[in-house]
Each structure stands twice: as structure tokens, then as C-alpha cells.
């Protein structure tokens, strides 16, 4: 069944990037449709650990992260937002030095990060191990409930009368005066397209013979059953190997980028018990009371990146009227904001902050 409508823009990928861009362009008067191969928000947007921490953002992306945090706060309860404050821990001299250097630079970039003494840390988080060498703190840090992403954007798209198709994989893209997208639901016509498919950007761009150097890390997250209150802030680690947070319902989410197995082309990825083990052991090291927490689920999610670990945000190289948005380092935090910038760019307006040319040389340091 072919559609006769020609949309101003078809957005391929219904995570935060795709949906938030759709909302922005629709506000500006464009007709948009969002297509996702599965349910909305079931990629990285929906399965990550939900950490909203300025302490783990890249220095050059800090202005974007600050704006992103603000937007998450506005989304509020609908996405399970909580501003808890966050601590990053160092357990030995090497980590302490790393912490000192990196957090200082991030603070200089605009994040309200300070260093705290062990006494302050113990008072704030009495269940943490005493073996902390150094710690930094940011009052803006917190988390949201990533599993609500799909439901949240589904509601927002509906409220804005933006059509979306789930279970609708784009299998071919033909150039017409605009584009004709082949899907199981028929052909979708649009004047322009936005590729926002996250970890699936490489095969998607390949449909247009564009080679995007997108890699996907396979990050592991675990969650426990409900526990008595063990921590009130989000906890991080100087090396990034541990993130922990306890949700309002008492469950504890444990992450840290430990790698599972699999690729986006081959399904959802699988947990690797060999990496879950040290991840959980590190969590227990930081909060010994976790030893008796029962883990009820572990899962993986794909985190897309390009070689220089800066976003793809701009025109798709070599294809007129096609743009790409994704691979943002810290995409969960930054997503809602960079999508607004992207939407403004698509509407022909000057984005408030610079975007990131997808056609750049990824070997060079970004200016």
C-alpha cells in the first residue's frame, strides 16, 4: 500500500534524536513522519542506565550538556527525572590524579564540579566504602528512567499530531525529486530525510552508498531487586568503569560500559558473564552492602560512536536534502538539546550552538 502524502521530512530512527528533531521541525511548520524498525525509543535511548552526569561529559560538549540537563529537568516526572547530585570516586593514586586533571577541565568548561573530602563524602553517602582516595561532586547530576523514553515520545508525537510507524524498517531509499523509502508498510515519500538510527546508522547510510564510520560499543547494565536506601546520589568512577544509582523504587542500576557481545546487525546483543562479574564486583567494592542485593536482570545496549567521539550532526556527505544526527558522546543527556539544534538547522535557522559536520576528517582534532 503506497502513501500518496509527500512529507516535508521523513525521520528514520525513533529514539530521542529522531523524535525530538521531529517535534522541533513540526513546531516550525514542517510535516514530518518518524519511522522505527522496532518500538520507539528501544535503542540506546531506552536501555541505557539513565545517567545524567556532567562529570562524564566531554569538555567541548559541556555547553550542550548543560542545556541538555535543563531540558531533562523540564521533562521532569514524565521521564522519571531526579536531580540527586553525583559523586565520582577514585580508589587509588592513579585514579585520583586522573580525577583531578579531568574534572578540573570540565569545571572550567562550565560544569559546577568541586572536589570533596572523605569526611564530606562519608556524611553524604554513609554506605560507600571507606577506601576512597579522592572524590568530585556535581550538584546538577542525576538520572532519568530510560525505559520511559519510548512511552514519553510516543505521547509527545501524538500530542503534536506527528505520525510515526513502529516495526517499520526502511529497506531501500530511492531518490526521486525527494526520497522514496521502501518499508513493509509501503513506500513513504518525503522531500528530505534525517538519518537518526543510532547504532544502525552505518547500514542505513549504506542504502544511499554513504559510508559512515560508525562503531557500536555494547554497554552492559544490571539492575537489582528493590533494596533499602543505600545511596542517594548517582555514583561514578574516575575511569568510568562504574556508574550506580538507586531509583525511587529502591532498585539499584549498575553500569560502567562493560562490554557485552554482538553487533547491531545481529539483534540486541548479549550479556557476557565474564564482564558482568567484574562490573558487579566493582559495585560491591564501592558499596559493600550490595553483596546481598539480588540481581534480577542484566542487558546490553548499543552505543554508537565515530572515531573522534564527537557527534554526527549535519548534512549527510554527498547526498542533497539528507541529514544525519547521532553518535553523540553522552547522547542521552545531550540528545534532547542537540535535536533542537538539528531541527533549527533543518528549518533553515541558525542553530544556537555549532553542529558537527558529518563530512569532516575524523583523524583531525575537532576545532
Amino acid at each position: 500500500m503506497s502513501e500518496t502524502t509527500t512529507y516535508d521530512i521523513a525521520i528514520i530512527g525513533g529514539g530521542i534524536m529522531g523524535c525530538a528533531t521531529a517535534l522541533r521541525v513540526a513546531e516550525g511548520g514542517m510535516s514530518a513522519i518518524v519511522l522505527d524498525q522496532g518500538d520507539l525509543g528501544q535503542g540506546a535511548s531506552g536501555v541505557n542506565a539513565g545517567t545524567l552526569s556532567l562529570q562524564i561529559k566531554r569538555v567541548k560538549l559541556m555547553p550542550y550538556a548543560l542545556k541538555g540537563h535543563h531540558l531533562w529537568e523540564q521533562m521532569g516526572e514524565a521521564v522519571g527525572f531526579a536531580k540527586t547530585g553525583g559523586y565520582t570516586l577514585a580508589f587509588n593514586a592513579r585514579e585520583a590524579q586522573m580525577l583531578q586533571e579531568r574534572q578540573t577541565l570540565k569545571a572550567q568548561a562550565g560544569a559546577p564540579i568541586s572536589f570533596v573530602s572523605n569526611v564530606q563524602l562519608s556524611a553524604a553517602e554513609p554506605n560507600l566504602t571507606q577506601k576512597v582516595e579522592a572524590a568530585s561532586f556535581c550538584p546538577e547530576d542525576g538520572y532519568a528512567n530510560s525505559s520511559l523514553t519510548g512511552q514519553y515520545y510516543r505521547g509527545r508525537l501524538r500530542d503534536a499530531h506527528i505520525p510515526y510507524r513502529e516495526g517499520c524498517k526502511v529497506t531501500a531509499i530511492e531518490r526521486t525529486t525527494g526520497f522514496a523509502l521502501t518499508t513493509p508498510d509501503g513506500t513513504i515519500h518525503a522531500k528530505r530525510i534525517l538519518l537518526a538510527a543510532g547504532a544502525w546508522l552505518k547500514p542505513l547510510a549504506a542504502l544511499l552508498d554513504v559510508d559512515l564510520p560508525v562503531n557500536a560499543r555494547v554497554n552492559t547494565v544490571s539492575v537489582t531487586e528493590r533494596m533499602a536506601p543505600l545511596m542517594g546520589s548517582v555514583i561514578g568512577h574516575a575511569t568510568g568503569l562504574l556508574t550506580m544509582k538507586q531509583k525511587a523504587n529502591g532498585t539499584v542500576l549498575i553500569g560502567g560500559g562493560w562490554q557485552g557481545l554482538g553487533t547491531p546487525q545481529n539483534g540486541r546483543g548479549t550479556v557476557d558473564a565474564q564482564t558482568v562479574r567484574p562490573n558487579l564486583a566493582l559495585a560491591q567494592y564501592a558499596v559493600p552492602a550490595l553483596a546481598q542485593a539480588r540481581v534480577t536482570r542484566s542487558w546490553t545496549g548499543f552505543e554508537a560512536n565515530v572515531p573522534d567521539f564527537y557527534p554526527l550532526a549535519g548534512a549527510l556527505p554527498g547526498v542533497a536534502d539528507a541529514d544525519v544526527l547521532g553518535c553523540v558522546r553522552g547522547g542521552y543527556t545531550i540528545g534532547p538539546y542537540i535535536a533542537q539544534l538539528m531541527g533549527d538547522y533543518i528549518l533553515g535557522r541558525e542553530p544556537e550552538l555549532p553542529l558537527f559536520n558529518p563530512g569532516r576528517d575524523f583523524e583531525k582534532d575537532i576545532t
Binding site: D39, R154, V276, R294, R297
Partner: protein, 466 residues
């Protein structure tokens, strides 16, 4: 301890136990892994150590025979062992287990999953009240502990289990307030041709029912429980006549055994890539396997109720087929075993399953305020609202409302949630599969999984881009 076993069998019930024996007999080095302290699974569950002596039962005798066979010989049996993750790694299966409370890894060239079944209970108002246990749950309680669920018990559900449980309550000295079954006498008459092939079982069933009648226990055919009353524990039940949708009698009781058929435990198979399909005659979502247990996944075999509810007799026979097949595949020998006996036994099992399948009118008793997801106390209307907001798959319902994210992993709610999605969206049930299972296959204490940890052993990753 050998480096790799030839075959690892998960589940020591009739299927897994017999698979183990058959594989060992064919010369394979087999390890049998099970959660319980003794082999037997659910249907041949062993008595706990607290039972010093008790009268023999057919299931007890069958279980004792299996346990004796397993004890005799070169089979490695790991009881009290919880499998929490399995994956394929370099040409072997790697199983992560907690043996008592110690984390271990078992590797084997081939894997036989004999994970059995759990039960389906159609949610009704008050079904979460303490004192309500499953029908299959009741049999576990009786077999392991010879303990009654209460002083005065209503027994309700579909299929033969309802009469078995009622008779066991009487055998253990308890009182059955009433037997309430959605099945009609006509349903049972339709099952008669298949039952004639199993005269001993037919005779047992006849004894159970006649005994209940002689004891003047009310047997309500074509009825279901619509509501359970009681706050901290059950105080009574309300029944419902399905034929004309009217109120039936109510009974005071301090306990209720309730169940509507069995569901295959397909989670491990599904997680390992075995295709699943929806077949109500086999208990709902089943994992695809040949009669001899072979699947499309190399070196992975399934047998017993874990791949389709065909009953205990069929489970044992399929176990033999799968154990033999797996051992032959390793030895490079062709398989010629006949599946005729298994098919005959399966026919009877399927007839019992047909009786046990919840009837459409039963689903109507799940009211808006009935809890569907027990772990998260989510009601039918909570989930209905989520479906209205566009969540049309079990995964998106789970993400939105946490229904299915609790400690039971969706085992007791996913079937009802899928039925609700199907009903509300018009999708056929076959288009509403359960969400992808994730490890751990059971809740596991973090400290036990983490094991001994030396901070210096932590890998030093490349620093994250600054």
C-alpha cells in the same frame, strides 16, 4: 573434573533425568544440573528430608526409580544448583551457575534443556491474597512437604490437575470445600478417546472424582472463581457460572488452589536463539524442536514440557530420544530411534492440555481492577491505559509500566498481558510474543556472582575521550 563435559542437561525431571541416563548409556560424559536437592522435577518432586516415612504414591515410586538410576553410575549430578546464564563460547556451551552459593562455570559440547513448565493462573480479584497458591504449586507443596494449604480449601482450575489436587488434599487429611472447574462434563467426554489409551490414569481419575462425590464435596462443572475475599489471608471465594454469566455459589475457606494449565519454560531456549511459535494446544509459546529434541541451534536440544506441554510420560520418552540423539551426534553416529511411543504419549498429554487451556469466558473474569503484574502490583487498567497510549508489544508495555520487570521476570504476567494487548489491538496472539529473556535466568545475589575480587585485577581502560 573433566575440562568439558560432552553433554550438560539442565533440569532433572522426567525429561532431563531420562535424557541424562540415555546419553550416559550411549557413552557420553554427562552432567545433570538442577535447582532442587534431588532429581525429579515438578511431577516427581522428592520429599524433603523432614519426611521420614510416608505411604507410597505412583509419582513417588517413579521418582525414586529415576533417582536410583541416576545415583548408580558415572553421571555427575549437581543438585541445588541455579543456572543463571548460558552462552555459546568457542564451540562449547558455557553455563554460569550458583552451586549452593558458590559461582562456577560448567562447559559442555552439547546442551539439553529440560526446563519443564510453570503454571498459568487467570488473574481474578483477590488472587494475590495470601492463601491462594497455584494448582501445580499445590502439588509441589504436597510432594515435597506433605503439607496442606489450609484447613478448608477450595480447589479450582482446568484439566486433570484440579481433581488430583483435591484428592491429594483428602489423602493428606484435609478438607475440600468445593471443586470448581471451568471444564464441563462434555469437555471431559471429548477427551475420552485419548484417555482410553491410558487406562490406569483413567481409573485414577475416576477414583478421585467418585471419592469426592461420596464425600459430598460440591463439584461445580463449568464454573470459575471470580473473586477471592480476605485481607491478610483468604476467607472465602465467589464462583461464577460461565455458561450464562451468572453468579454461582460462594464458599468460605481459608485457602484456594487455582490454576489454568501449564506454560513451557522456554526462556533459556529463547535466549539462546531457538525460534518460538505460538501453539495453544501445547501451552502457548513453545520453542521449536524436533521429536528427538534437535533444534536449529547447533548442539542444542530440548525435551519435555519445556518445549511444549505433552505430559510426564511423553517428557520421559522425549528425554530418552534427546539424550540418545545428542550422544550420537557427538559420536558422529546416525540416529534411528522411533518416535512412535513418544507420539502416542504426546497424544494423551495434548488431550489433557486441551482440557487445561483457559476458556475465553474465563478471561472476562479478569476485571479492570485485577492485578496482572504481581511483582509491581500493576492492574489490568494500568496496563490497558498503556496499550491505549500506543504500547502495542509486550516489550513496550514492560518499558512503560514496569509490568514484567519485577523479580519473577514476567513469568506470571506476560501471558495475561499479551492476551490484553491482543484483545485491545486486534492483533492475533501469535503476533504478541513475550519479550526477549535476559540473564540472570533467576535472581542471583550480587556477591555470589561477583565472587572474590581484587581491585588490582581491574582492567585499566583507555581513558575516555576528554
Amino acid at each position: 573434573m573433566p575440562d568439558h563435559y560432552d553433554i550438560a542437561v539442565v533440569g532433572a525431571g522426567p525429561a532431563g533425568g531420562n535424557a541424562t541416563l540415555a546419553a550416559a548409556q550411549s557413552g557420553a560424559r554427562v552432567i545433570l544440573i538442577d535447582e532442587q536437592p534431588k532429581a525429579g522435577g515438578q511431577v516427581w518432586r522428592s520429599k524433603s528430608a523432614s519426611i521420614l516415612s510416608s505411604p507410597a504414591t505412583p509419582e513417588g515410586v517413579a521418582g525414586d526409580t529415576l533417582r536410583a538410576s541416576l545415583a548408580d553410575g558415572s553421571i555427575t549430578h549437581l543438585p541445588n544448583t541455579r543456572v543463571w546464564d548460558i552462552r555459546r563460547q568457542d564451540d562449547v556451551w558455557s553455563l554460569q551457575v550458583l552451586q549452593d552459593e558458590t559461582a562456577t562455570q560448567i562447559t559442555a559440547r552439547a546442551l539439553i534443556l529440560a526446563t519443564g513448565a510453570r503454571e498459568y493462573v487467570q488473574p481474578v480479584r483477590g488472587w494475590t491474597t495470601p492463601g491462594v497458591i497455584g494448582l501445580a504449586g499445590a502439588t509441589a507443596l504436597f510432594k515435597q512437604s506433605l503439607t496442606l494449604p489450609g484447613n478448608k480449601t477450595v480447589v479450582s482450575g482446568t484439566g486433570p490437575l484440579v481433581f488430583y489436587v483435591a484428592s491429594e488434599i483428602r489423602r493428606l487429611g484435609g478438607t475440600v470445600a468445593a471443586v470448581v472447574t471451568p471444564n464441563t462434563r462434555a469437555d471431559w467426554a471429548r477427551a475420552m478417546p485419548a484417555m482410553i489409551g491410558q487406562p490406569k490414569l483413567m481409573a485414577r481419575g475416576a477414583i478421585w472424582i467418585t471419592d469426592l462425590m461420596l464425600a459430598k464435596v460440591p463439584i461445580l462443572w463449568g464454573h470459575a472463581i471470580s473473586e477471592v475475599s480476605g485481607a491478610d489471608r483468604v476467607t472465602g471465594v465467589q464462583t461464577h457460572r460461565l455458561r450464562d454469566n451468572t453468579l454461582g455459589p460462594s464458599y468460605s475457606a481459608d485457602s484456594l488452589c487455582l490454576g489454568h494449565g501449564l506454560i513451557p519454560n522456554i526462556e533459556a531456549a529463547q535466549m539462546l536463539g531457538v525460534a518460538i511459535r505460538h501453539d495453544p494446544t501445547l501451552g502457548g509459546w513453545v520453542a521449536d524442536a524436533d521429536p528427538d529434541g534437535a533444534t536449529t541451534v547447533k548442539d542444542l536440544y530440548l525435551c519435555g514440557d519445556g518445549c511444549g506441554i505433552r505430559g510426564a510420560a511423553a517428557a520421559g520418552l522425549q528425554g530418552i530420544l534427546a539424550g540418545t540423539r545428542a550422544a550420537n551426534d557427538i559420536a558422529g553416529k546416525p540416529t534411528t530411534a522411533s518416535t512412535r511411543k513418544w507420539m502416542r504419549a504426546a497424544r494423551f498429554g495434548k488431550a489433557m492440555t486441551a482440557l487445561s487451556i483457559p476458556k475465553p469466558k474465563l478471561e472476562a473474569l479478569t476485571t479492570n481492577d485485577t492485578i496482572l503484574c504481581r511483582c509491581e502490583s500493576m492492574t489490568c487498567s494500568d496496563i490497558s491505559a498503556e496499550i491505549d497510549r500506543g504500547a502495542t508489544s509486550t516489550t513496550s508495555v514492560k518499558s512503560g509500566q514496569r509490568a514484567g520487570m519485577g523479580p519473577c521476570g514476567g513469568k506470571y504476567c506476560q501471558t495475561a498481558i499479551a492476551a490484553l494487548i491482543a484483545q485491545q489491538t486486534g492483533k492475533p496472539l501469535a503476533d504478541v510474543p513475550p519479550p526477549a529473556p535476559r540473564p540472570p535466568l533467576r535472581p542471583v545475589p550480587l556477591g555470589q556472582v561477583a565472587g572474590d575480587f581484587d581491585y588490582d585485577d581491574l582492567p585499566i581502560p583507555k581513558p575516555a575521550p576528554l
